[in-house]
Amino acid sequence: MTKKIYYTLPVVLLLIAAFMVGFIAPDVSASRGNPNDLQARINRLPDLLKTLVDRPSNDDTELPVLTTYYKVLGELKDSYYGKAIDDRQLTYSAIRGMLSALDDPYTRFLDPDSYKQMREENEGNFVGIGAQLQVNKDQQVYIKEPIPNSPALAAGVKAGDIIFKVDNKPIAGLDIDQVVDRIRGEEGTKVKLSLIRGPKKKLVELTIVRRMVEFQMVEWKMLDAANGIGYIRLRGFNEHSDSQFESAITQLEHKKLKGLVFDLRQNPGGLLNVAVDIGSRFVESGPIVIIKYRSGQQEELCVEKSKQNHKRYPLVVLVDKQSASASEIVTGAIQDNKAGTVVGTNSFGKACVQTVSTLNDGSAIAITTAKYLTSKGRDINKVGVKPDVFVASVEPKSGEDVIEFGDLKKDVQLIKGINVLKEKLGISAGKASGGKVR
């Protein structure tokens, strides 16, 4: 049961959850609080309904958004014959409907659950034991992999362990979400796992203290030790991405790194400041990105010199059509400054910035507040970053397993990237391990 589909499951689930709030891709965003004046106004509702909320108008054929909504809600309360009116859900629907009129999928409403999930993703932490769970063909829940630096790993949990009991209670019959719920809990509390290990079906009982675990945003390996070709894959731009990247490149340097393949495929983006930090590791000086506000004002976000604490290496960046937003900022900056060669397909083409604001009841609104241009002023909206070397993504044929990124035999974009990097390093491409590039 090593099919890729299971490996990507957390992402699948994330996207399904995202369906509920109608969003496409995580994005470049910045958080901030509420100005006091807004809070004061809100507290004066519904007085405000009369005057401030909707635009004052002398045209009595106008339908002001909030008052019209309020009236229809009242009509429903008075006369609707059907299921009970849930003010909150109805209002959330109305807000989403209102936003749909903007034709901007990135301006979106996040209910408290979705917002919590988004914050967790951006902060890059969760409380738990730090193990990835899966279901095998016998419908047993087992440990796919303990996350590095996690309590699970420290306690001795091993990949392949089948979970038999949680806190002495058998889990047979529960689905994977229910098992995850049982294992998760408050920071500092303990959970006891009864595991069945190995072909001898040895019973292993471990008590693990739950604590904060970092999402692993970075995956790295030395692809070709002889030639010093290293590989770093970045899954997203959260608050730990830059430090995890730094740690990866430092470890690659210990292994005599000479050239780097930086994989941004399937990376949907994330935090804007993190994009600038990561971009600063590849671009010598100048802007990483230019932000264009609604006022027409432009702001250049420039290289953070403090991030340039390692050498710059000959570089290949891998992108695909799912490389979006923050990924495109970094890729665009690298391409504009000729700091590396971009290999793959056109990227997603999302050149706008969202600001996320917390709302009264724990929900939030992400609003597109600005557009951006790449470091040299290119607008890539809807076009994406065009690769220097085009290599199509390989879709698995029906019935075949999904091709894993980093597979030196099947990942044709990576294979091409390695060859491009070898040319840069003056190594003949003939030595490349792996198959031919189409």
């Binding site: 106008e62 019209t68 014959y81 936003l99 749909s100 009129a101 609104i365």
Partner: protein
């Protein structure tokens, strides 16, 4: 992965459309007058009701009319306000006035659609005009009367867009659409239910728990992908097929008892329905075809009855087959001829309240006292069913034909200041004996199988036979 991605993106594209979703035009395709605030069932003129708009009392003109309500939770409203405030202040492009109108429409659409109720929806200005014109018997589009059937099957609610009947002389009738046809595609694009992602979500759950193979999962996602890609929601489809324009659509329909899907090309056009046509069957039997229960039908029906009386007719056949209903006021007026002042229906309201709705007093010429039979079929819908049941219960008229559609929700129509409108379900019509016939329909007293063909109408023949035979064993 990429499939799921695609699905995600499609969900986004569909978002606006999903927001538009649904509406049945069954019982309530003709608007009922707006409920009056003090006496919800007071008879008020329809035109007056329609012009009494929500925003006639909108805060922009008279702020004091927005009364804070103790039963509205203000917290979500505050959230709504915060969102609106932020958008106006911060959105990357300043929000224009026309955009604000679209935002209002979007909000109303989505809030009403979230109730997943075919009769509760928003109508844009053009659609409202079409609904209003239907009250005088003028229809646009294909002239197919459609409704949404919801049927819970396990975790999935199957929702289908069904043709309940076709208006006489309409393009839909000419094209051969039949009552019971389920519209599955329009110009090749799938007709999507309220929640088109139910299946995807189910498959994700299955694979997550190891109950589906990777291969099967991908195959199912591809199928859903194709369906969702260009899919169109119920409400939008209904609006397309009811619009005032020149166009042709190819509909793919699933027809009962036909194995493969049927493709039907149907044009849009105007259909003017004469609500009442009458004729003499013989010297003692008259026939009234009541196609629509609308305002003009009231006097036409009175005249038909008066005419028959003058000619010495003793017995009548009232044909309510394929009659899609109309307005409550007109049903009360027409019933005044047959069951004056007797109960027309018991209206079930929210919180268990009930109210008896009575037929009007007999018109000037007096009530009809002769024997009556009523012809019904599966296209007898809404207020037509209400009328059939009332005449059955109150005047002992036999129902001849086949089981009726089974749609008894009351739909109330509120016109908004800019000419758009909101409709909502406000009650349920029960028979005078308190029977809820929703989905079940009314059973015929005398069942006739086989539909009418040119020169042959077995149901009418049976109706006449019932009248002439006097007493018939049900």
């Amino acid at each position: 992965m990429s499939i799921i991605r695609k699905v995600t993106k499609m969900r986004m594209k569909r978002f606006a459309i999903v927001c538009l979703v649904i509406v049945a035009m069954t019982a309530g395709f003709i608007a009922r007058s707006q409920v009056d605030r003090n006496d919800p069932f007071a008879k008020i003129q329809r035109e007056e009701a329609l012009s009494r708009s929500l925003s006639a009392s909108a805060p922009s003109t008279s702020p004091t009319d927005v009364t804070p309500r103790s039963d509205v939770d203000l917290r979500p409203l505050q959230v709504f306000y915060q969102v609106l405030f932020r958008l106006r202040e911060e959105y990357v492009e300043p929000i224009q006035k026309s955009r604000e109108r679209d935002m209002t429409y979007g909000a109303l659409n989505a809030m009403l659609d979230s109730l997943h109720d075919p009769l509760t929806r928003f109508f844009a200005v053009d659609q409202t005009k079409i609904v209003v014109e239907a009250q005088s018997g003028k229809f646009y589009g294909t002239g197919a009367v459609m409704s949404v059937r919801q049927d819970k099957q396990g975790e999935i609610t199957e929702e289908k867009l069904v043709v309940t009947s076709t208006l006489p002389g309409s393009p839909a009738e000419k094209a051969g659409l039949l009552s019971g046809d389920v519209i599955t595609r329009i110009d090749g694009k799938a007709v999507l239910p309220y929640d088109p992602f139910q299946r995807v979500e189910k498959y994700v759950k299955l694979i997550k728990n190891g109950k589906m193979t990777d291969q099967e999962f991908r195959k199912q996602l591809e199928i859903e992908n194709d369906r969702l890609k260009d899919g169109i929601g119920f409400h939008k489809v209904i609006d397309m097929l009811s619009s005032n324009g020149v166009k042709e659509y190819v509909l793919t329909v699933a027809r009962p008892k036909v194995a493969s899907p049927v493709k039907i090309k149907v044009a849009l056009g105007e259909t003017v329905v004469d609500p009442v046509t009458e004729r003499l069957i013989n010297h003692s039997v008259g026939y009234i075809d009541l196609n629509l229960i609308i305002k003009p039908a009231e006097s036409e029906f009175n005249n038909a009855i008066a005419g028959f009386k003058k000619q010495g007719v003793k017995k009548i056949v009232i044909d309510l087959r394929d009659s899609p209903g109309g307005s409550l006021e007109s049903a009360q007026a027409i019933a005044g001829n047959l069951i004056p002042k007797k109960p027309l229906s018991i209206l079930q309201l929210l919180k268990g309240k009930r109210r008896t709705l009575s037929a009007n007093a007999a018109p000037a010429g007096g009530q009809w006292t002769g024997q009556t039979v009523v012809l019904v079929n599966s296209g007898t819908t809404g207020l037509s069913e209400v009328l059939a049941a009332a005449v059955h219960d109150g005047a002992g008229a036999k129902l001849v034909g086949s089981k009726t559609f089974g749609s008894n929700f009351q739909q109330t129509f509120l016109k908004l200041a800019d000419g758009s409108a909101v409709s909502m379900t406000t009650g349920k019509y029960l028979t005078p004996r308190g029977v809820d016939f929703r989905n079940k329909g009314l059973a015929a007293d005398v069942t006739v199988s086989g539909s009418a063909k040119p020169g042959m109408d077995p149901t009418l023949d049976k109706g006449i036979e019932v009248l002439t035979a006097g007493k018939v064993k049900g």
